[in-house]
Amino acid sequence: MNGESKPRYKVIRYSGAADFSEVLRTDVKTSSTLLERESLRQYFGDYFSEIQLKTIVLEFDYVDRDYLEDYAAYYVRCYEHYERRCCRIHLFKSEFSSDEYDAYLEGSTGTITKEFLNTNYLGFLVVKPLPETFFGRTCITTYPSNGTRFFPVAQKYEATLFGTRLQIAQTLPFQEQDSVVAACATSALWSALQRTSRIFKHGNPSPVDVTRFATERVPAMSRAIPNHGLNPMMMAEAIRRVGLEPFLATTRSGFELKGTLYAYLRGGIPAVLGVDLYDSSKQVAPSPEKTAADDEMIGSHAVTVVGYNMGLAAAVPYGATKFRLKATQIDKIYVHDDQIGPFARMETENHEACVGGKRIPALGTTWKGSTKGNTINAVTEIVLMPLYHKIRIPYQVVLETVLRFDHLIADIKAKAPSPVTSVPDLIWDIYLTTVNDFKTALQKENLISGKKLASVLTSGMPRFLWRATARHGDQTTMDILFDATDIEQGGFVVQIIDYDNAVIPLVTMIAQNFPISQLHPTTRKIMSYLLRVSK
C-alpha cells in the first residue's frame, strides 16, 4: 500500500453499522466489538447515516495526547501489556477508493484534492488499544442544521492526516469513559473543559488530569484511580483547578432546566448535567407509604449538554404570572453521553419517573431498558457550569428581575385605563453574551440604524452581559442589557434599547409618575435607569 511492511492506513467504503463493527474487529483489532454494545452500535449506525458517511480512512499508529497522558499515568505500569499508540478513524461523506487515495498521497492529479477531502470531511474517532471501552477523543460534525437545532458550544476543529489539514466546521470533542482513569463524570467534564479552554484560555487537561484535579483536595473514601465516579464537590474542584469558577444549579422542572441550559449554552458555555436514571419498564416493590411502585434506579450519570432543539411552536406560559420565556420552546437537548455517543438526544417533553411514590418530571433518553424500547428516563439532579470568574450574576437573578418587570407591565396593562391595553404581550429571550458578540449581533439584526445604532455600538459595556430581548410576534421591541460582572446589590442595568416604541414609553411613564420606592428593588433598577435617561 505505501511501501512499508506494516500498513499506515487503509481506505474502506462504509455501508452500515454492521460494517463499522466489522472494521473495528478485523482492521482496528479491538478486543471487543460494537456488536456486544447494542446502544453504541445502533447510535453510531444511525448517526453515520444521518451525516451521510461514505468512506472511512484508518490511520494506524496514531499518537493521541489525551491517551498518552492516561497511558503514562496508569497503563504503563500494568503487568499486562497495553499498546500506547491508537488508531484514528477518519470519516468522509464522499466515496473514494484506496487507489484514488494512494494516487493523492503520491502527488498525482486525480479525483482527490485537498479541497475535496476538506469539503467531505466529517471528523474522526480515536480508538484506544484498550479492552471494552475504547473510544477516545472523538470529533464528529454535529447533526446537519434544520433551523431548530442549535449547537452554540460547537466549534471549528482541525485534524491533520498525512500532511493534509482537515477542518470540522462544528464539533465538540467527546470520549467514552475507560472506567479506569475516567468515569462518566470525568468524561463529561473533559468535554466541557475542551470548550472552555478555548474561550477562556486555560490549559487543556487530559481525562487523568481531570480526575486528579477533582480528587486531590476532596479525598474520596477509596482510591481515586481506578475511578468509579465523581461527586459534585469533586467536579467543582476540578473546574477551580483550571482557573474557572463552578456554578451549580439544582433544577428538575422544564421551565428552570430549559431556561438555565439555554441561557448559558447560548453564551457558548457547556453544562455538565448530573442525572439519576430510572427504568420505567421495571418497578421495585411498592411500600405501604407509597401510592405507586417506583421505577427501578439504574444509577447516577453525568453528561455534557452541547445543544438544544427549539421544537415547540410557542413559548409555554409559566406559573401564576404566565411569564413567557423563549427557552421553553426547547423539546430536546443534545448531550455527549459517554454510554450512548456524541450529540445524543434527550427529550424534555412527556417523560416522568416514579420516585418515592410520586411521578416527577424527567428527560427521555436513548438508553435501552430491560425491555424493548427506550424506557430509561433521567431525573435531573444538578447542572454544573464552568464559568469565567468575571461572570458573577447568575441567570436566576436576571430571570427574577425580568419576570417581575414583565408582570408589572402586564398587570398595569390589564388594570389601568386605556390606551394601555394596546401594549403587546411579551416573550423574553434571556441569555449570556459578551460585549463583542452583542454588538456584532446588533449590526446583523438590523433593529436600529443611524445615530442610534452608532451610539450603542460605541458605548462602553462590560465584557460579559445578560441580554434580555422582548418580542411580540415577529417584532423585537426592546433589549435590556445587564452587567454580568456586577454584584447583585449593584444597579446592573447597563442599557435599555427601545426598538419600536411599543412598550418603553409606558414603562417610562410608570417610572415618572409612580413612586418607584414602592416597586420591588429589582424592578426599581430598570425604572431608575429609564428615569435617568429620560431626563
Binding site: 463524570a185 469533586m234 428552570e256 439504574i298 453525568a302 406559573g319 439532579e381
Partner: protein
C-alpha cells in the same frame, strides 16, 4: 435618533402625556395593582427558589454509571 420608527398609534399615545394614565399612576388604585403584581411575581419566584434548594447529601453522591 431612530431612523426606523415603528410605533403603533395607541402606543405612541402613551408615549406622550396621557393625563388619565398619569393620574391613575399617582392614585391609590395603581399602588394596589403594583402591590398585587409584586405579591404574585414574588410567589412565583419563591416557588422557583424553593424548588432549587439543594439537599446537601446530593453533593456527596457520585455520578458513576
Amino acid at each position: 435618533m431612530n431612523d426606523r420608527p415603528k410605533a403603533s398609534a395607541p402606543a405612541r399615545e402613551t408615549a406622550g402625556s396621557h393625563p388619565t394614565l398619569q393620574a391613575w399612576l399617582k392614585s391609590e388604585d395603581a399602588t394596589v395593582v403594583v402591590n398585587e403584581a409584586n405579591r404574585l411575581s414574588g410567589m412565583v419566584i419563591d416557588e422557583l427558589e424553593r424548588r432549587q434548594q439543594l439537599d446537601p447529601s446530593e453533593l456527596q453522591k457520585p455520578f458513576t454509571v
